[in-house]
Subunit: 324 residues, 3 copies
């Protein structure tokens, strides 16, 4: 479950423009809509060349990930480079932590080197927030995933993907399936879908992986996969980690698949034109069957493509108003 | 010995242009010649600035090496950058493999991020081939070394280096010396030399390091260094790994040097103007004496220089016809 | 204590221009002054965009650090990129050392790939010097920190920082406090301050951390913090490593802070307008109190900012006269 604390800094500048992106919670819906509009501009068909500009030429983006991640790190790296920015990658645990330096001192150091934006990921969900509260006024902090608390660019890319395929979020019935309790993806995507007017958001999980009762307000809760996704327009499957299965009273991966794996047969309880999302990396044959992951209803590759586009939009929105 | 399987995809496009570079085997000799021509264009004298262009501006090259390598990784990285491409480095074993993601899913993810080319190295020689068979039509796959099977850019750079010093490959007598059995370099260089018309290619190795009988067709086999390199124009020495010495019935490095080390004295059995190649990294004092490695007949540094030039030529040839 | 040997190569070219930067020792004072002038040009106020140019477009800088370092590595990386150069990062211990390749062969390889400058850090202080003596004439070698021997760009950035705040080095009284014995920072900053005319340089350390008697010529020695910094214009605090405390007869971090930690109270023995420097990373609550590190007399963040500027000036000075 997410660690609870209040975000100490505002994400918006006095003029209403986006300065930091730490969570989608409390973000005005027009900010979310405008980020999605701009993301559409950067989301090119697969066979076309990547979108590029030099809008951020001369800016420096520092990517500091304390957890391993190919996907999100590379996505932010390519987004930054394709806007003309310089990127420095800091593997937090491999460098100054060896010498016992604290994250705030590392950040202050990079800030002094004229870094314009920090992209941060840590198991401790307070790290991006704390950093955002200490950096100079012209600097932006973007969360690359904060503990089990939030993953705002993932929420945006999920919303963008659904909107591309369904034309809208309004009025849709969306099921989020699996380890909701520990999932930052579930929380951020829920915020995005809710802000954009989804009719019904269902959280579908084994009892032990359900979030606390005071979370996911207005969501309906289901403890069976079939009933949970019945008549849904969107089915978002979450990654399950082996060590969580105990909490879900599930002995092993095979049993998880038997009870919770999204198979083609089960997917038929959703709407006929339902789309399937997964934040990746996937455990094929555990939470999702390979033929569903690679099947005609899967939009998983669009999610990845949209991830770069969303991060370009976020970098542009936050940095263009920064230091000049 | 190399794992045997058939490459599932064609390296050439329907119009005869190069799409993937996985092996030099079966590659039409005019493709090899044209790559060497273009490599010459990029191979500048040491004291001059590196050759550069922006032919690949806007393209993205993903370098994914599952084995450690400074030389080849940096060579591909510089080749890509000097043509204006963006590069992302993925250390495969340090990132998503920690989360159990499969290589195909990682590749699909990067493909969705508009990566234009993958440069892959793995101990499993089938990895580049398998990836090449699954990527979209506008994407190229370049092998950075596949198990003990093939290392095509190494074969090209060796051929380029010999051609620069000897004016031709046709009619030359070439000895490849050392651990042929486990060497992807030996296999790829042999393909290049053979395709380009070498008169005689000798494989010179202790019995236990000889390849299987059905490999290296039309090569002559020698189990003594002196007779093996006698009257040769080119002597290519391979790296020997400690753990292979047992197979060669050689107890230690000193004994290997005694029997198989290329010394100045032994080099005199080759032609007076013979050149010496080594793919590096070198074990000085094991397979090669330092005074030979650094001596007037050594062209080892030219090989490295040519490595960048060859990779620029390959990237240009494969990517310019890709996504536009 | 520093390993003693003579630097085998000249840092200046025949025309007096700077080719390598290995140590500030013996460097003509006008070279130091001219590097500081140029550094001023690159040291922009924090809120302004980073200084940039394309003076080094087409050049390649290889950064090879055998010790972990976020600060210095990223500082050199950003300095290189902001001048338009390409950068390759080589983590020495993670790559070819696994295959037993020697540093000289790695350097020769990169040199053959048209690298224009090497930035080197190693525990062995002779590494940058040895490399500088072997590379081709058009190549520069910059030390990124050599054992406990020297860290010339740190010395320059410290001098620049003091000059910015005090208007001059001449006539100042400067105290260097802490583990002088093992500190490359102390040695290089001392050289810079001495060359630029400091009136008095004090080394202030527990007896066990004092350097050998024949080192730090003309410095005064103090074994008490209060008397050591009394009436000083500049107090430079060094990082103490846990394992050094034994040599200083200090049982633990708390005891070190009690006796040697720079607190606000103790700082009052220095001049009222004294400035405080620290090379970082800091052990807050060990060698320096947090309220001093973050207080009005601290210029620690300026040091970091100036670090990039100094490295830009050094890269420009050394590389513009190199290969063309």
């Amino acid at each position: 479950m997410p660690d609870s604390y209040r975000r100490p800094t505002a994400q918006l500048r006095a003029d209403g423009s986006l300065r930091h992106l730490l969570t989608l919670e409390e973000l005005p819906v027009q900010v979310i809509r405008s980020l999605l509009e701009r993301s559409e501009h950067y989301a090119r068909p697969f066979a076309q060349p990547a979108a590029r500009s030099d809008l951020l030429a001369g800016r420096t983006v520092a990517i500091m990930f304390a957890e391993p991640s190919t996907r999100t790190r590379v996505s932010f790296e390519l987004a930054s480079r394709r806007l003309g920015a310089d990127v420095v990658n800091i593997e937090v645990q491999l460098s100054s932590r060896l010498k016992g330096e604290s994250v705030p001192d590392t950040v202050a150091t990079l800030e002094s080197m004229h870094v314009d934006a920090f992209v941060l990921r840590d198991v401790d969900p307070s790290v991006p927030d704390l950093v955002s509260s200490s950096v100079a006024e012209h600097i932006s902090v973007l969360s690359g995933g904060a503990g089990s608390h939030s993953h705002p660019t993932q929420g945006l890319l999920d919303a963008l993907t659904v909107r591309q395929h369904k034309g809208r979020i309004e009025g849709l019935r969306i099921a989020i399936v699996g380890d909701i309790r520990h999932s930052r993806v579930a929380r951020s995507s829920w915020h995005a879908f809710a802000a954009l007017g989804a009719e019904e958001i269902r959280i579908v999980a084994p009892r032990g992986l359900m979030p606390a009762d005071d979370e996911f307000a207005r969501c309906t809760r289901h403890t069976s996969l079939e009933s949970g996704i019945a008549d849904c327009d969107v089915v978002m499957v979450l990654r399950i980690q082996k060590e969580r299965m105990t909490a879900a009273s599930i002995p092993d991966e095979v049993s998880y698949f038997t009870e919770w794996g999204l198979t083609a047969a089960r997917l038929r309880s959703a709407k006929q034109d339902a789309i399937v999302l997964h934040p990746q990396p996937m455990n094929r044959g555990v939470e999702i069957a390979s033929d569903v992951a690679d099947g005609p209803q899967s939009v998983i590759r669009d999610q990845v493509r949209n991830g770069v586009a969303v991060r370009m939009a976020v970098l542009e929105a936050t940095l263009l108003r920064g230091r000049r």
